[in-house]
């Protein structure tokens, strides 16, 4: 059965998880960390870097390093690198592609479908942009879920009986 991954596409860090034996499991990246910096960079030779490696070189290459692209999602603002313009969707897609590739390496199988979380305050345009980013990354985005909703699901809200749960979204 094809696996569906869940991606938390964050402003500073992103995270990918999968259901295994009825429980969500966070997939570590090849460096062994459970979160990956949401940073995209291009070297002077045009090589693309995503995640920790992009973050480590950021200070030496600020003009070709993109951080916190999530803040621009849903806007028409473009990022220009070496004369080439990238939409926020395209940059986000590069992060999603990395998450997808890491998940595929972990699972040992191709991944085509994903659920992506967005802040509860995201507008329709911002949600659509997130969906588009998934599409560019080669993912069929089955659903866009609000981050606090995902937190509630991960807690197990759907399994227990009737209960009241308070969710704090600390952001950042």
């Amino acid at each position: 059965m094809a696996k569906i991954i869940g991606i938390d596409l964050g402003t500073t860090n992103s995270c990918v998880a999968v259901y295994e034996g009825g429980e969500p499991t966070v997939i570590p990246n090849p460096e062994g960390n459970r979160t990956t910096p949401s940073v995209v960079a291009f070297s002077k030779t045009g090589e693309r870097m995503v995640g920790q490696v992009a973050k480590r070189q950021a200070i030496t290459n600020p003009d070709r390093t993109v951080m916190s692209i999530k803040r621009k999602m849903g806007s028409d603002e473009k990022v220009e690198i070496d004369g080439k313009k990238y939409s926020p969707q395209e940059i986000s897609a590069m992060i999603l592609q990395k998450m997808k590739a890491d998940a595929e390496a972990f699972l040992g199988t191709e991944v085509k479908q994903a659920v992506i979380t967005v802040p509860a305050y995201f507008s329709d345009a911002q949600r659509q942009a997130t969906k588009d980013a998934g599409k560019i990354a080669g993912l069929d985005v089955l659903r866009i879920i609000n981050e606090p909703t995902a937190a509630a699901l991960a807690y197990g809200l759907d399994k227990e009986g009737e209960q009241k749960i308070l969710i704090f979204d600390l952001v950042g």
Binding site: G21, E31, V53, A54, R56, Q57, I59, T60
Partner: protein, 199 residues
């Protein structure tokens, strides 16, 4: 709505030829021996019913077996997962014990040095050098090597740039200062070298 329509249309289309072919034959047979025909039909239906019941029982049994198999498999998987988690935790504890055990003699030396030091600066410095050598040896034994030197070319796969400067006397992406050397064991980077990079 449209999905419902197609099959109806098909039956209507197909029905006429079938009727014209079978209808006269059926009518003849019924007219000839209506009683035996009915009995025959009843027997046929009974047989069909029995066969269907048998088939249902068979399928029910097969389903129950599969269900049982699934439940067993799930329980087995759950056990496997718990066991491998326990094993992983065990491996981690063992690995940490091994490493700490290798470093403890150095801690002993430092502790002794603190106890017996008579305030002679030169002797203390000598002791520190020896201890540092012992530590380097210990790290080498663990397969750990240090890297990151001034003059190396910056590589984000090994180095973490925390400062940057423009200096025409230096090369492109040249490391001009190492704040902390990096450490690696095989392909695994334990710590990225913290560096200042030029240009």
């Amino acid at each position: 709505m449209e999905e419902n329509k197609t099959p109806v249309e098909e039956t209507v289309k197909e029905a006429p030829p079938a009727e014209t072919a079978d209808a006269p034959a059926e009518a003849k047979a019924e007219a000839a021996t209506p009683e035996s025909e009915r009995k025959h039909k009843a027997r046929e239906e009974k047989r069909e019913l029995a066969a269907a019941k048998e088939k249902a029982a068979e399928l029910e049994k097969a389903l129950a077996e599969e269900k049982e198999k699934y439940l067993r498999m799930f329980a087995e998987y759950d056990n496997f997962r718990r066991r491998s988690q326990k094993e992983r935790d065990g491996i981690y504890t063992d690995a940490v014990s091994d490493v700490v055990g290798a470093i403890l003699p150095i801690a002993d030396n430092l502790e002794r040095a603190g106890r017996y030091s008579d305030g002679d600066g030169e002797k203390v410095a000598e002791g520190l050098r020896l201890t540092m050598n012992a530590l380097s040896e210990c790290l080498t034994k663990l397969g750990v090597t240090a890297f990151g030197e001034v003059g190396d070319k910056f590589d984000p796969n090994l180095h973490n740039a925390i400062m940057h400067e423009e200096d025409e006397a230096k090369g492109e992406g040249e490391i001009v200062e190492v704040f902390q050397p990096g450490y690696r064991r095989g392909d695994k980077i334990i710590r990225y070298a913290m560096v200042k990079v030029a240009n």
